[in-house]
Symmetry: C2
Subunit: 214 residues, 2 copies
DNA sequence: TAGATTGTTAATCGATTAACAATC
DNA sequence: TAGATTGTTAATCGATTAACAATC
């Protein structure tokens, strides 16, 4: 993890995929892998793989390839997978519940420490071991725990005010499932938007195009 | 919608965002917009916006700008938003339920016509107006309806076999929420992968990096 | 030694940005 | 007419690919 400086967003997008594939290989008991094999799996080129990895250091052995276990751990380190940043989730609807379970299950990058909803019927219910609190509690909660990340699963209309409140509590990173684009407003926040409807529209477009081509 | 030829994947990724923003402007009753204003909202440049739109046609008026309503409709047409491709969803767990509701609610690109699960306890329950069927019914169902797209919300281990079955039924496009990479196997399928854990890892990486920079 | 494969530099390709004539 | 803003071509920038010496 030596080099760094300016890592392009395309490399960042590929890192988790490298990690996933290496974990799979590791689980299968495969101990060595070449840039060519990695490339094949990534629908990429050997050059690309070597270039990507060289952003962070020299992990391979000339003539031999890469050690699967070592490279996996290196990339885990680069991604910061064991950081366990304290995170809260706001909005315990369908998506919120699904995501809460996912995050609690992964347990790597983030530790889910609280779930909030403005609906009193949700307050008190338990999702993946965590009792849902009312959104009024957010400020107090964030002051107590050192919440780093907020997972936003509330309807679009409620997001802007919520984001402002969370920002006020010191939260500077967001995993955003709403249609509202957080991060336009503040320039010191890290936002990962998951716009499912964008994804759906892209699929729609690509289906349409593939049908036109025939 | 005249020009076309080779549209880059970066343009495709931006199209839904243009659409979302135009819909917002339209809802606000704003009738004209310039490439500069669009760019600001897209965190992009006026050049980029004009270049993007010119892949598909000439939608603006020199000296004036673009008509919001017209451009919105043009992009809707380009994306194929009103196609309503018949889609089924497989895997009625947390994420499946959330996605089913989302798709049923949007009702634009796809029309959800069936939901399937292998768990008998789920079979017979109703999700957003659709009764869940057993996965054994998939083949018969696909033969009857002309299912275009399958939304995959089953655990990783079950995906490969499922994808093969669906491919056998003529399904050639997938919205994939599992960790398994569909599409490595067949080259005539359109796959939109939503790898939530990749998204999470990217966020983790970017948080880590922003903290190191301080 | 011969074969394989890395790290790294150079070449190519594509995407973004700048510039500007056309025109409302 | 002057100002604004498009469509489009040219210039720049960055990302991908190719090439090759180093070395296991």
């Amino acid at each position: 993890m030596a080099k760094r400086d300016n890592i392009s967003s395309s490399v960042v997008r590929r890192l988790p995929r490298y990690y996933r594939f290496l974990r799979e290989l590791d689980a299968k008991g495969i101990s060595r892998v070449s840039s060519g094999e990695l490339a094949k799996r990534m629908s990429s080129t050997a050059s690309q793989v070597r270039q990507d990895l060289n952003c962070f250091g020299e992990f391979g052995q000339q003539g031999i390839g890469y050690s699967v276990a070592q490279l996996k751990d290196e990339i885990a380190g680069i991604l910061g997978i064991s950081c366990g940043y304290p995170a809260i989730l706001v909005g315990a609807g369908n998506i919120g519940t699904a995501i809460a379970n996912q995050v609690a299950y992964e347990k790597r990058c983030f530790e889910l420490v609280g779930i909030f909803d403005s609906d009193m019927r949700k307050v008190g219910t338990v999702i993946s071991g965590i009792t849902v609190s009312h959104t009024d509690e957010i400020e107090r909660f964030c002051r107590e725990k050192d919440v780093v990340t907020a997972i936003i699963c509330v309807p679009k209309g409620a997001v802007e005010e919520l984001a402002d409140r969370l920002y006020g509590c010191g939260v500077r990173s967001f995993w955003n499932f709403s249609h509202f684009d957080i991060g336009m407003k503040y320039d010191d926040v890290t936002v990962e938007n998951v716009h499912l409807s964008d994804s759906l529209m892209q699929l729609c477009f690509r289906i349409k195009r593939s049908r036109e081509d025939n």
